[in-house]
Symmetry: D2
Subunit: 346 residues, 4 copies
């Protein structure tokens, strides 16, 4: 941490600050610029916050040198995390696809979609039982009944299930019944929920909040990881910008940025990320080309009748076609990466 | 609701859609543009979602004509809501000021700050017991112990307390002990929490999410209001933009926009909204000039030692000065509004 | 165009408006919702602006039904535009790559880079002679001297040149000497420059402004196209958002959105779009997977010594590797598209 | 400037860098953190760019310590700039109001509006002759003919005129005829135009670009100031965000931020900043309360018939009312500032 002083700082102020920092076990170094005086703080600075210093009347600015997350970062965990979840490998060069309806609506619906996405090659069934809706007047999901239907589909197809938890009160049942617990974008910074989910020890899919930076997502992952080291999969699903042609702006550069900063696998949701069916396939392929470990795709047998998010759901036929292209693309990228390493990285 | 058709729509498709809508009790009207064909839907369209239609292959675009919120809106509640909370009037031309430390740290701290802000004219004591922090390694607040200290400060000063709820599990205790329950910006779309808080029947301060539109805030208010009509106070506290000179971009135009759309009182938080102490006073005064019903201000007796958000806290002396100016400004605005109505409105 | 009336509109106001519109040769239709009254305007509404109506005290909201651009749109030009520029085909399933240094620095530099990018398969040499720099104290490019060096490189390698125009005063020389005239992001809405460039009749590369929507880019393209129908290539290069991990947020979903709305070819600039060298290759591949017609890439033989934008330039070796992967990917995508059409589109 | 090294930097790399920097006349200091090694560079670092170092494979991050603008900043010009323009004082505690029609439409229109705004207390007449319009099909202004009408209005009312320059080709005529030359938001980073305008030596009103930071605006001001020190007035007019309730998000916190960083006067444009007439008055008053030196307001005698931006124009009556309130507010703020200094500043 580096403290940049204001021009009018006095020697007394500097001395007082130095003794305070030394008393906390830190090493303090003076740095003299042409017009600016700075103090460098070394040692365990994780107990210090930028706020403590910005408040001082003689400090101009504070620069954090180390990243604000620990468990999600590569510094102490340089190799990629690879998980085995219900017999499926996630990360490590595998392509993981989670597909299914936005909302679970009926047994028929979810079982038939599960069969179709499984046949096309999806590894996991995704489906919403509890639905976070902007308006209280919109369909809110079938709740625990929906979870039962997902379990029924799992029994009949063997596909493990991914579904969103919206409230701590369901932690116990999710901990027992759900294969990958999804924390939705709006809950990415619901810290009590993150902690509760972390305590369950089950795999977690953490979606990026629409106004959250990548570093904030990694700190949110740390909230889960500190509770006991559950497998955590990150999910880019679009951020909020001024552009209105898409529901969100899918930030695919987040994939290589996360890959550089973190060892956690990262998947991309082109359905929520764009909001329109015709954008799902191109953005799914782009996500794989950008290096994503997988996809999360909304598939509905009657998208025009879907109770939720119909416009962004694709049909099972379109999903089949997408899987064919995605697999071919994924295979090719592994081959060309074998022939030529990435010369572009620093 | 108006459905704008694609150029290649067939008469059969239009007829099928018309009978479906008529069967739902809606009135359907054909609208013929030069190059575009449209259908207008009248009747109770609140059960319809835009999604249902955007999913149809022959629908180009859907336009909602009525606003998506009901209870928070002025349509069915044209006059301003004015609340009496613990003997203090909120809304209706009164200036409500909530002030206190970001985090409750000790009895001494909170009682002494409460005394000072009360003396300067604050109507409510605000203070955090549960703190949502981006990093799991930051100070997370004293929790229920902090709530006890706030109650102690209330006893000693008579100031009612405003504090943030972070989890449904604390609903009961907040329902009993807290005068105004704050729902924080990160929880603005934590829908189970909104419902739970709505059931308590206590006054609620709802902060705007950093990437939420004004209409989304009004829908979030509807989540609370449908549960039993608790008093709801809205709070603008800054949105997330590309500008880095401030912590958030305080959207003061939200004040007159909300005033036009909603009957709920609205206060402004210039401390979180800017992140810097020297911006608190100018933005507090600007908020009042923009028509806000009140302010929420962080005050700390030793801002440089604050365990949280020190850089944006002002001292009791600065708060006293702010209150002097704020009151003078509020008084003047009421006078000039009396002399000259607002000719600017449509 | 649909005008949604306020609840208190009078019949007299409606009648006056209707006669005014009829006098302008428009067909006016009344639309009655349950609680809302609307007027639909058909005919040539391009002379009307939303502003004209929003100003009326009894109009609540105005909805434009047709898109605001004409020449760039698919409505009157449904098939893709394919251009032949200096013997190279742009659009129509070809992959166009423009590569070279951010700034032209010396003859040696630009010729040697041109040779290397040409050998690796680039179709055009890009290089900056006039550089728009945020700070007046940064290197501003070699100006017309830089253009001479680009011409020298073209002579020696046969690569046509792409370079940015910053001022109308250079229109004549650019019109004579430059193969593709680039209009930079900051000038996307410099309307006199757009018109001037449009009059030259040369191919134009139009970069998206960092805070401009896709529709605004298409309207900017119309400014060029109305002057005489120059070939226009659009370029996505990132938009400004709150995320600080990248220089801009590269909006790859813009590619399929533009493809649907416009017939113009679209290329992607992953160098400016991300700002970091290690993100160039993954985002270049992602752009191709998203359906882009080409790439614009900064290549520098000594990126660590570059006078401008060094951190985002890749070496000729990295570019060679990128081209190998890009070509393999592009070929594969054409093959799989042949086998399976895109079932995803509406 | 501080260079933060990557963990794997070698001593040879550090030595090479140190000799390079020493050869440039800089003083290099080693800074050792617990896990990180850094180099501090002192001396005249204005010739160095962050880019030069980020490109190095062993540099993790670069931190600039001094601000990137010089002439616009307070460091070498601590006291406020106060200008006298055509006998009117701008800055220094005076309230400067520029008012008039968005577009000049006819002599009658502009003279009559000029008379009314002058009578209400405006110090300058603003009006557009050249209009930057997003669509090429919208009214583009009367051009030089519009300028003639503005001059006519100046003759008849004595009000100096403010109007926007859109192209370098008009520099000469603007330099002779216009009292304050406006550089519009879309041209804030049109660097050749900034330089050209700077050379004229006339007062300039520089509007903030919709996606430009405050620091970028100050660097744009430096482009003008380096050419010969013209009087520069900054104008906040809203930035682009995700919120759609307003045309832009008026960033009033920019006012006190600019005041702290720069000595230049700053005015606020609540008309463009919000896009809606009913928001003009509250945001104008808020701007004054935030410390703005003035306002720029669109006034039209028939806003519903305005050829441009009608919805955000107010009538002369509404302007009169606004001026009455604005003056009372400005007077009060000067009084209370006299009684109580600002205790809030660090």
């Amino acid at each position: 941490m580096i403290l940049i002083m204001k021009p009018r700082v006095t020697l007394d102020q500097i001395d007082a600050l130095k003794s305070d920092m030394t008393a906390r076990g830190l090493i303090v170094q003076e740095i003299q610029g042409e017009t600016t005086f700075m103090l460098g703080l070394a040692g365990d600075t994780s107990a210090l916050s930028v706020d403590m210093f910005v408040g001082l009347p003689f400090v101009e600015r504070v620069v954090k040198v180390s990243e604000p997350y620990k468990l999600a970062g590569r510094r102490f965990h340089p190799q990629d995390s690879v998980y085995e979840i219900c017999g499926r490998v996630v990360g490590g060069g595998k392509l993981t696809v989670m597909a299914g309806p936005c909302s679970v609506e009926s047994e028929d619906q979810v079982v038939s979609i599960a069969r179709e996405v499984g046949r096309a090659g999806a590894g996991f069934l995704r489906g919403g039982a509890f639905k976070p809706r902007t308006s209280p007047y919109s369909f809110q999901g079938l709740g625990l009944g929906g979870l039962e239907l997902l379990k029924r589909a799992r029994e009949k197809t063997g596909l493990p299930i991914v579904t969103e938890i919206m409230s701590q009160e369901h932690a116990e049942v999710f901990g027992k019944e759900v294969d990958i617990i999804q924390v939705g974008a709006r809950n990415m910074q619901n810290f009590p929920l993150l902690r509760e989910v972390g305590r369950l020890g089950r795999p977690v899919l953490l979606k990026r909040g629409p106004s959250c930076t990548i570093d904030e997502m990694l700190m949110a992952a740390d909230y889960i990881l500190v509770e006991g080291n559950s497998p955590v999969i990150l999910c880019e699903r679009g951020i909020r910008t001024f552009e209105t042609a898409t529901r969100n702006t899918l930030d695919l550069s987040a994939v290589p940025v996360i890959k550089k900063r973190s060892h956690l696998p990262v998947v991309v949701d082109p359905s929520h990320g764009t909001g329109y069916r015709h954008l799902v396939e191109p953005m799914a392929l782009a996500a794989i080309a950008a290096g994503a470990d997988g996809l999360m795709v909304e598939v509905h047998n009657r998208p025009d009748k879907a109770l939720c998010d119909g416009p962004q759901s694709i049909t099972p036929e379109a999903f089949d076609c997408l899987m064919y292209k995605a697999s071919a693309l994924h295979k090719l990228l592994r081959e060309v990466a074998g022939n030529h390493g990435n010369h572009g990285s620093a």
